[in-house]
Every structure is written in C-alpha cells, then in structure tokens.
Amino acid sequence: MAILNITYDGMSVDYTRPIDERLTDADVRRIAVEVIRSGELRGLHVAGLTESAFTHYVVDRLRTAGGGMHIYLRPKVPFGGR
C-alpha cells in the first residue's frame, strides 16, 4: 500500500487512506479527482473539479526509508522549443 500526496490549488495534502501502490498513473489521477470532489482530502474540496484537472500532472513513486511507498501527484515541469 502507498500514501498518496496531491498538490493542487496551492496545497500539498496526503490522502489519509492508503492506496494500492500498483495503481496505474491514470488510476491515480482519477482517484485524485474523486477525493477532491468528495471532500475526502483535508482542506481540498472542489465539488466541480473537472475530469481533466490532472491531465498535465505526473506521478512520482518514491520508496520511503521504511520500505513503504509515497505516490506524489504533481504538475509536470518540462519546457522546450520542441
């Protein structure tokens, strides 16, 4: 299981319920939309959040020192003239 952290609207919040660490990136984005819509994420409640809110976000999966996993949903930050 893993802890999901979502950064949105100036806040970075851990979801209190552990999630399956094998979830796909698309699943993580979908769950993020659902928990923000439902108000399950402390301090972040946007009832009308669009399905595409996290389209341009990436998922980082980092192992913790204790062997657990932290999954971070954060904005992508590449730039480029390509």
């Binding site: 809110a53 389209t55 341009h56 992508k76």
Partner: protein, 131 residues
C-alpha cells in the same frame, strides 16, 4: 559552449532564485528536482523563464501545458517568459486573462540566461567585435 535550454526562477526585483539546465538545445525535460524547488520557493517566485536557444521567442505547446499545470498546482498565475536569440516574450497575468509580448524593459538576466544556454547575445558579440 554546447547549446542547451536553461530555466531561471525569478523573484522580486529580478533576483535569480534558482536555475537548472538540460543538455539538449530544444528541450528541458521534466525533473522532480525542478518541481521541488518551485514548490519550496513558491512564496517568492514572480516569474519562470526559460530559453529556446535554437527556437524563437514563443511559448511552445509543451510550455503551454506546463504553465497550465503549474498555475493550477500553485493556486495562482505566475508570469512566464521565453528568451531566444531573436528576442524575448513575456506572459503577464491580468484581471482579464493575460497580456503577452516583448517586455517593456529587458531584464538584466536575459543576457545571462542566453549565455548560460551557449548563445552569445547579438549586442554582446557586436561589442566584442568593435573592441
């Protein structure tokens, strides 16, 4: 110097707060480190600038989607700019949306970010030839 894209995080009074670079002249790939610095400096960042050493002064499709993602994550709209050999463009948030165009006053760091990208600004190379 080899051409490469460079990113500056700019604070109040045109202070360069942080920078990083790629090894590619047409891309600055995603990096968690860059995001961590942006998040850590979020209260102080006024503008995010990057270069197009081989391109023009415009926002690419990649730039547009990154700016959208950053503004939604930070909960506020930042000022963004692209510095290229042929000029500079800046996007400034306004109450109506945003304004976009060359800066009224070219910031001091524009030449620095070009030099860091391996580009010698035109007026610098002219001065060198004159000297």
């Amino acid at each position: 110097m080899k051409l490469r894209e460079v990113c500056f995080l700019i604070g109040a009074e045109d202070t360069v707060l942080w920078s990083d670079a790629s090894s590619d002249p047409i891309a600055l790939p995603d990096a968690r480190t860059r995001w961590e610095r942006i998040w850590g400096l979020r209260e102080r960042i006024v503008e995010i600038a990057h270069t197009h050493p081989l391109g023009g002064a415009y926002f690419s499709a990649e730039d547009e989607s990154t700016m959208l993602a950053l503004d939604s994550a930070l909960g506020r709209r930042l000022r963004y700019s692209v510095v290229a050999p042929d000029g500079m463009i800046v996007r400034i948030p306004t109450a109506q949306g945003c304004s976009e165009g060359p800066p009224e006053l070219r910031p001091w760091w524009a030449d620095l970010i070009l030099l860091a990208s391996g580009v010698i600004p035109e007026h610098v190379s002219s001065s060198k030839e004159e000297g």
